[in-house]
């Protein structure tokens, strides 16, 4: 049985991150001459960029420009029509397992099961990530979900569901985060908190690729914006 009255102390850091072996500025992901074709339409062509440890890459562009498609390519969920991807200077296909183990991808869909409670969803993702020792009450309280830990997620509001989904970022030890519109449905305070946490991750040597239609409001050291044009 779980304790009914978890001791919540919001000052204490919830997770002690084991720092991944980082050479700051090391090249993590290199895209060379990527192109993506959907429905016989070229979304983008000859796209090359590099993501280094400590970088945050914001993929911008109008609706339908191909941001989500690019992110799915980077996450290894689909293969580029042309061009190559390298992870730590090796072709992605050779090191796909290493890469996957170091990657946290959260897509348009939240990745939480609606019938399960927030706690149970977190336990699932912990196990998938191989992270032990749950301290999820504190984590959820920190995310503003105190008291909602053990009701099925379909009874949470849109933004609360999103918070549960993003909670994964707080215990993952992966270096590369790929996030498709993480700010959807979040209120302003949650967005601010999330961005603060992004900063921490970058300072630890992590890398983030994300899309969002809202502006990133904090001061990032190495923010790159990749503007995709909507091509017909």
């Amino acid at each position: 049985m779980r304790p009914i009255f978890p001791v919540v102390d919001s000052k204490r850091p919830v997770i002690k991150h084991q720092p991944f072996s980082v050479i700051v500025g090391q090249e993590l992901l290199q895209a060379q001459a990527l192109s993506c074709i959907r429905q016989d339409r070229v979304l983008f062509e000859q796209l090359s960029f590099t993501v280094r440890a400590g970088d945050i890459l914001q993929v911008a562009g109008k609706n339908g420009a191909g941001k989500s498609s690019l992110l799915r390519l980077l996450a290894g969920l689909s293969a580029p029509d042309e061009g190559t991807l390298h992870y730590r200077s090796q072709p992605l296909s050779d090191v796909v397992d290493d890469y996957a183990a170091n990657l946290c991808f959260i897509g348009h869909q939240s990745g939480i099961h609606e019938q399960l409670t927030a706690l149970e969803n977190l336990a699932f993702w912990r196990a998938a990530a191989g992270v032990p020792q749950p301290d999820d009450y504190a984590l959820l309280a920190q995310l503003g979900l105190a008291g909602l830990e053990d009701i099925p997620c379909n009874m949470l509001s849109a933004g609360q569901q999103r918070r549960v989904s993003l909670a994964r970022l707080w215990f993952t030890s992966c270096q590369v985060w790929i996030l498709d519109e993480p700010f959807t449905a979040l209120d302003q305070s949650a967005i601010a908190m999330l961005q603060q946490y992004f900063l921490q991750h970058l300072n630890r040597g992590g890398a983030i690729v994300l899309t969002t239609h809202q502006n990133l409001t904090l001061q990032y050291n190495s923010l790159t914006t990749l503007e995709l044009a909507y091509r017909w």
Binding site: I4, F5, V8, S10, A141, A146, G147
Partner: protein, 66 residues
Amino acid sequence: MHFQSWAEFWAMGGYGLFVWLSFGTTYFLLLALLCYSQLQQKQFKRQLAAKLAREQRVKQYQEQSD
């Protein structure tokens, strides 16, 4: 009293198995339903009390963090 002895009573004229099977399951099911319903009520009352106390704590926690 129709039966002469207890043994005869339990035997039920050779139909003991069927008679006691029916009466047994009937009483068992009725009792189970009764206990289950009562248990449900008790359990809910306990849950509610716990929930109220928890609410208190959440309020406290929110006040602290404000």
